[in-house]
Symmetry: C2
Amino acid sequence: MTEVKQLAQEAKTASQALGLSTTSEKNEALQAMAREVINREKDILAANDKDVAAGKQKGLSDYLLDRLRLSPERLQSMSKGLQALMELPDPLAVEPETWTRQDGLVIENRRVPLGVIAMVYEARPNVTVDAAGLCLKAGNAALLRGSSSAVHSNEALVGAMKAGLKARGLPETLVQLVNPENRDTVRELGQMRGLVDVIIPRGGAGLIQTVLEQSSVPVIETGIGNCHVYIEASAKKEMAISIAVDAKTDRPSVCNAAETILVDEQWATANGSALIEALLAEGVAIRGDENIQRLHDDVKQASEEDWATEYLAPVVALGTVPDTEAAIAHVRQFGTTHSEAIVTENEDKARAFQNQIDASSIYHNASTRFTDGAEFGFGAEIGISTQKLHARGPLGLGALTTNKYVISGHGHVKGGTAQ
Amino acid sequence: MTEVKQLAQEAKTASQALGLSTTSEKNEALQAMAREVINREKDILAANDKDVAAGKQKGLSDYLLDRLRLSPERLQSMSKGLQALMELPDPLAVEPETWTRQDGLVIENRRVPLGVIAMVYEARPNVTVDAAGLCLKAGNAALLRGSSSAVHSNEALVGAMKAGLKARGLPETLVQLVNPENRDTVRELGQMRGLVDVIIPRGGAGLIQTVLEQSSVPVIETGIGNCHVYIEASAKKEMAISIAVDAKTDRPSVCNAAETILVDEQWATANGSALIEALLAEGVAIRGDENIQRLHDDVKQASEEDWATEYLAPVVALGTVPDTEAAIAHVRQFGTTHSEAIVTENEDKARAFQNQIDASSIYHNASTRFTDGAEFGFGAEIGISTQKLHARGPLGLGALTTNKYVISGHGHVKGGTAQ
């Protein structure tokens, strides 16, 4: 048995035990895990220093180093995240739908944990704690396959969480760290159908594609967002500019940030310059089509590729469309079914856009930036699904569960022969 | 563009149009499809004759030929199946969950179709009509990849359904037949992420494994059932025998039939011979462990492989266990998370079995044969899922839908800067 298979087998056994735990047992474990993350602050920060030093030597960008770096404040925030999960309702503690057939057979559709959840992610140590906590609260074991750049930080964090689990009498094997040095472990995890119940990749398009290609285990695709804001002819000038600027600039590096702004041709003639000035004032580089280029000297020409690009940076593609049909067609062609917005005072156009676009979250007169578990009121999220199977949009605790039918009879048989 | 990609693209475009259709438009199309299947009886039966003749020449077994063969009665039954779908509630016509944030942003979680559903199946022409009808009722387009053994029958049936769609003004491309002569089309379908929303394989373990290995498109695994009936010490003799015989013999070739019967050691000593006699009387061949072999001369020795085998035939593995824990451990080791049953008068043992076993459907004092969409009251089913992602157990129309968030604001932005 390989090392990863061993870890998965242990996680499965642990998940079977956890499936029978009560809500308060799970909450007490979260509390203990939160405490250990703080108790071990010194060790965790020392481990993180090693990762940051190695990252500098490898020439990681400042942006990546910032994501990797831990601090007492960031540990506090992780610890509070675990405690916040205690307050959320237990997704398994929902009244099952139950019905009785005419012959007296009782069928109950019960919520149960998924079982073993594998997370494959990049050099963000906070995902280690977030994911483990969410999985635990929903009754699952977590197999964590982070980045080799964060290996020392992750070992220290997982060690703290294991100590918390142990302190509350739960199996430490509920949270398992998979060796990130071996690239083949991602493929291995993907082949463990029956042992691993789902793989959730969190990271860039390359990571997600690799997981999709290598897995027969079901995958939940998360997070690629080539999001659009479409400003329709009747849109109010101030509202449209405000939403477009917010969607692009509030936090350009995240998946729900806008990458393309589509503007009605007439609206562009009247208000396009103001929109461009507002974006430039926030430091956004603009790639525009001909109509947009005509409006301002600082607009570079957009290539076909720009419409398909998720910049995750202060760059935007700005295009014009003759009508809502053209906007819908553009979004259908280039969108990644994440988050799309229309700004309009025309209810019919809003309805057409929201009905005809196929995406996880479709906004009318609001910024795409709200696609988020906390914003939607789910309290926490394990990612934002852009696929249709299982669940779409921000995934809360409920998405980490499945169903099972529990049927009770008194000797019921299907054929006519017996009893 | 390959032929399959072309078909998928057309199906996607058609599904976008269908997503906006009303329930009655869809029902009228089902009605017209049902009518055309009957109108074209002569042509369909002639096409089927070709397939059956070719099948005989290829040496298909009588069993497979029977599954392949159509008759006026079977066409009537298919046509009635389409009409029955008209009576079922539209899975998209459910009141969406809607909530309003304190800042006035309204979030609606709406049911929407999956989009394009690919079915990969074997030489059963009835799946062609069933699947197309179910997909349509839930607002989806169907890509049907049947067996080359049924190609003429499937062409004739799809032709009839396309005529029905056309008669009601819906795109014929909602039902697309994929050329089964080219084996590579299964792999091709599996790589069309973004175009095909889900692949549902229906057939033997080999087919399902092939689809799983070749697909980055999400797959719903259906139907492999190594199902168990566990007779606990306190089980009533007559009830236990009746359930075990029904689960094994009511229809041995289907996935919810029992393949292994586990018997409490003490119960076996008292009643094992009667159970064996009852199974033998129904023509079941028995492979038993030592305890069982001791009870009857006609019991052959079970090998380790027998515990893992889905016979789909009148053969059963019969083993003894000392207690419920051992039964649970056995089912965990060899079960395929399809359907499992315990027969007992002890409520605690029943609860332990139902809580601790992870399967789509877990029975107390009832036969495993009830795992079925019609029996569960869903009206119809597209398969029985044995995976945890998306849905488990019999998949009704609801499982052919997903969700989408529709959010309405009045200029809502996330950052503090704007408006």
